[in-house]
Symmetry: C2
Subunit: 208 residues, 2 copies
Amino acid sequence: MARQRQERAERTRAALIHAAAEVFDQAGYHGAGLNAILQRAGITTGAMYFHFKSKEELARAVIVDQAAELQWPRDKKGLQQLIDVCQYLAVEMRSNVLFRAGVRLAVEQSEVNLLDYSIYDWWAEQFGAHLAEARELGQLHPDVDEGAFPQVLVAAYTGTQIMSRLATNRADLPERIENMLRCLLPAVAPAEVVATLEFPGNGGETTP
Amino acid sequence: MARQRQERAERTRAALIHAAAEVFDQAGYHGAGLNAILQRAGITTGAMYFHFKSKEELARAVIVDQAAELQWPRDKKGLQQLIDVCQYLAVEMRSNVLFRAGVRLAVEQSEVNLLDYSIYDWWAEQFGAHLAEARELGQLHPDVDEGAFPQVLVAAYTGTQIMSRLATNRADLPERIENMLRCLLPAVAPAEVVATLEFPGNGGETTP
């Protein structure tokens, strides 16, 4: 019975986060009403308070859980894996509402006064792991700063996403991310390594 | 007399944009009230309507005019000039309210539904001019994409600024921008060129 209750609580929490992501994604933080979120989730105010005390707490959860439903590609290694993950994220952002809403809130959180930096560190760790693997594979220039570069990659990805959203509502995000990587990878790897890497290009599989 | 009227109108417009920048900077777009802006500017509603019809129009003006009071360093050329400008901007953002508010609104404008891309293109043109000069000076790798790289630089700067704001309220922005440039410049210039460039470093003149 305890286990059933726990499962139900987890379903309720997930439904709340999903409904919140949908409403934040459409209306932004200030435009999102708690009632709209509860109605969409089919959950009462009382049931919500067991999990979240406020819209702000829901927004924090959407930021922190933004990557929870991503299914990373894992079949390549090093820099190729970094390219594949970056491209996967660019395509996924167009359909995965939790990811998209989490990124939006993370960018606009100073407007919301959440001021949570941890999600940026988390992304830097993910990118950093592929870079460390690239180092092991002998793909990197010897003097690449493995601590600093992932932070720059997260910054460039964040800015590119903002610019793509404004320019084309993210329709050109995969193309912009490919351009970004083509510009940045020569900073960390010799030309003969970059020449071996596959980019999806305009007719590639990740840009339907 | 016409000239006096025009000068007065320009002063009124500048006072409105300044007051708006101060209030947007402190309170964000949604937290900013038109009355607070008018009071700070010492201007009546009627005088405002001659220039701006709404808070949204004021916000647009703050975004578009964000660079109006910057005094760019102009004494170096090519990549050194690019470094100096990027560092100048990082320091300036901590004290120049119009610049800071304009950047904030540009980043958070999807929350505000302004969706104006032109300011990002404008910044890419500024950075691109220094890169074109670097090309003339023979500082760049032959295969650098001069069209794409300035966009990536704007994206990386934008993301770095967001992350610095969250992490330290921009106290570490000059240091982060220096790290960003140290990571990115090897993508466009050979190591022997990068070695000749001066970065302010921790004890440099632009990080007081």
